[in-house]
């Protein structure tokens, strides 16, 4: 998924070395000096990796360049950095691709974001990433009694969690999470994807408890801002945001968890308003998200308080003609025959029962695309 996916697999092995300019962000917090940019020109074949380029710069020009790496083949997740502003594994990014995405012909390499820098390109994964992973109880809490031999589980339920098992803990998604940028306490994409690994595992005994915990936490599953940054960042196609949406779906629809963050009410409000009107009735969205999915929601204390605090916005909107009073009160609807058709779709699809396997969810990571 990441745009830096190698594209030069077919590059001839006899390619001759070329010069590439690197611009690296250097910083040593212990020195007391401010971060600075450091440029080096290295010489390597275009299909070689950015990691190899960094290592050559370190070997030839400056042994103090800090970079963490191990496997050099996109398995260990150690060499996460930003290349030209985008998160990437340095070992999984070819020099020619990196040059192409550079703004000025110089490949720019920075440490990952949302985590403190230990030195140069090395960030403190323990302070952020691993702390958040530990937060979600990342191990199986087995159903009792534990069988004498192995657990027998349906093949498809294990396939379902393989996408989250593909995570190599590189931190690329954490680096670019936009919710974490403004709310560092957000549990975040990697840890929430990890929690799906166990929520989706039929051997786990704590599905409700895990989901209730993540739903009630103000910085849990409902703090995700749906920006797709983690989906784009992940070098292994784990789709962390998609996993967060699945956590929400199971929490709300299978366990009827009503959280204190308006997550369940917000989903019910949008889903319910589209069912009732065919279109979103925006004026009803805030009261229902705070007070529950009913026209009377606006008279609840939670909704009343929020509406009161939004009063200046509402008044300004009305004065400017932004909010049409008729639409604000009655909403806008699609024609009645069409509304009936939409409601018939709701009735048919929502009546399918997940537990009996009738609910149809297509995960393209698992099934792939048709050949046609």
């Amino acid at each position: 998924m990441a745009e830096t996916t190698p594209t030069t697999a077919a590059a001839p092995r006899t390619a001759t070395p070329e010069q590439f300019k690197l611009r690296m962000r250097r910083y040593d917090p212990e020195s007391g000096d401010a971060p600075y940019w450091d440029e080096h020109t290295i010489e390597l074949e275009p299909h070689r990796s950015v990691l190899e380029a960094i290592l050559q710069a370190r070997d030839r020009f400056d042994g103090s360049i800090g970079i963490r790496c191990s496997c050099r083949q996109a398995i260990c997740g150690s060499c996460g950095v930003r290349v030209n502003g985008e998160p990437a594994l340095a070992c999984h990014t070819h020099l020619d691709a990196a040059l192409k995405s550079s703004a000025d012909g110089v490949i720019e390499i920075e440490p990952m974001g949302n985590m403190p820098v230990i030195k140069d390109l090395i960030v403190d994964m323990d302070a952020v990433h691993w702390t958040k992973i530990r937060r979600v109880t990342p191990w199986l809490i087995a159903k009792q009694p534990v069988p004498e031999r192995e657990y027998i589980v349906p093949r498809e339920s294990m396939i379902d969690v393989t996408q989250t098992m593909a995570c190599i803990q590189c931190g690329a998604c954490v680096s670019d999470c936009l919710a974490m940028e403004v709310d560092p306490g957000f549990i975040g994409p990697a840890a929430l994807a990890k929690s799906y690994r166990f929520v989706g595992d039929p051997r786990d005994d704590q599905q409700f408890e895990r989901l209730n915990d993540l739903a009630q936490d103000p910085e849990g599953i409902f703090d995700c801002t749906h920006c797709f940054k983690c989906v784009q960042a992940c070098p292994k196609d784990v789709n962390p945001m998609g996993q967060i949406m699945r956590l929400r779906r199971i929490a709300i629809d299978d366990h009827q968890i009503v959280d204190q963050n308006n997550g369940e009410r917000h989903e019910a409000a949008i889903t319910g308003l589209v069912r009732n009107y065919g279109l979103l009735h925006e004026a009803e969205l805030i009261p229902r998200s705070y007070g529950g999915n009913s026209w009377f929601a606006k008279f609840t204390p939670a909704a009343g308080k929020e509406l009161l605090s939004s009063l200046p916005v509402i008044v300004r909107g009305l004065l400017r003609g932004k909010l049409n009073p008729r639409i604000a009160i009655f909403g806008h609807k699609i024609p009645s025959d069409d509304l009936k058709a939409v409601q018939a779709i709701y009735d048919k699809v929502e009546s399918r029962d997940r537990s009996s396997g009738q609910r149809y969810e297509l995960n393209l990571y698992i099934v792939g695309e048709d050949e046609q």
Binding site: D183, F186, T225, C227, K229, M245, R249, H281, G317
Partner: protein, 306 residues
């Protein structure tokens, strides 16, 4: 060109100036809009979160209605969020014949069926890929000279790249830059231009939501933008309607006008700011109106021999 036009909900609700300005701009670009007024909300990703099949079926219905529009070359929308939500559903529907047949079975009661391969483009994409930047440039009557415009794309129209068809051939995540430039404006780059406006979590974590909006607007102010332009009405709600609260949250004055894409295009095509619904903005686009008045004044002066 004739297009099956999906305006979305918000452009007909809380941002009526968007739908209105699109209607004014379309004839100037020879776009015939056939409104899909029977179609329902895309669900903005939230219905898909609730029930994936429900979202896919509701959007397949919209796609099927679009495919019934005689002579329409494609489906067009004016909302980044609609584009993203529809693209996600279409990706699944197009990828798997069995799933498509399953969804079509639900639509059959209404006599509708979605056939794989609908072309669905945001107005921004249509401007660059169908009309073309040269043609757009040729139609400009009032170049946006000296107007410093910060692009704000909206997440759903730039990520994920594969699903949205963004590649070297079609650098759609750069189109807003290209359009501003073609209209004669000055593009202002700033840190938040492809980040999240915060709207999706406004009811769940209001402070984080407004902090996002406030920071991006603040970045654009620091980069000396005269205004922002966005192809997403939901971003517009957080960036414009909520801007006074966002300013309070980040503790600084912002006061930066935010235009909808058709408004910016309309301005360059010579339409009057009044026709484009500028007065409906919470942050009055005074700097933009002053700019357009001075440009009109200057060109009127030039034509009358001053």
């Amino acid at each position: 060109m004739k297009v099956a036009y999906w305006p979305g909900c918000v452009s007909r609700g809380f941002t009526p100036e968007l739908h209105g300005s699109m209607a004014k701009v379309a004839p100037l670009l020879d776009i015939e809009l056939v409104e899909l007024d029977r179609a329902c909300c895309t669900g903005a990703g939230v219905i898909a979160e609730h029930n994936q099949e429900l979202a896919d079926t509701l959007n397949a219905r919209t796609f099927a209605l679009a495919q019934q529009v005689d002579g329409a070359e494609l489906m067009m929308n004016i909302c980044s969020t609609c584009q993203g939500a529809q693209s996600e559903c279409q990706e699944r529907l197009d990828a798997n014949a069995e799933y498509r047949a399953h969804v079509n079975e639900t639509l059959a009661g209404e006599g509708l069926s979605y056939e794989k391969g609908l072309t669905n483009k945001n107005f921004l994409w249509l401007l660059v890929e169908e009309l073309g930047l040269d043609e757009l440039r040729a139609r400009v009557k009032r170049p946006l000279s000296n107007l410093k415009v910060g692009p704000f794309y909206g997440c759903y129209i730039v990520r994920p790249r594969d699903r949205l068809g963004i590649d070297d051939e079609r650098p759609r995540d750069d189109y807003l830059h290209q359009v501003i430039d073609a209209l004669g404006g000055t593009v202002i780059d700033y840190a938040g231009m492809r980040k999240c406006c915060g709207f999706p979590i406004i009811t769940m974590n209001k402070e984080a939501s407004l902090k996002q909006a406030g920071r991006h607007i603040g970045d654009a102010v620091d980069a000396e933008a005269d205004c922002l332009v966005t192809p997403c009405p939901l971003c517009h709600l957080n960036l414009d309607l909520q801007q006074p609260l966002a300013a309070k949250t980040v503790g600084r004055e912002l006061d930066l006008p935010v235009l909808h894409l058709p408004q910016l295009v309309g301005l360059a095509l010579g339409l009057d700011p009044k026709e484009l619904g500028f007065k409906r903005h919470v942050v009055r686009p005074t700097s933009v109106i002053d700019w357009s008045t001075s440009v009109v004044g200057a060109s009127a002066g030039a034509s009358s021999g001053w």
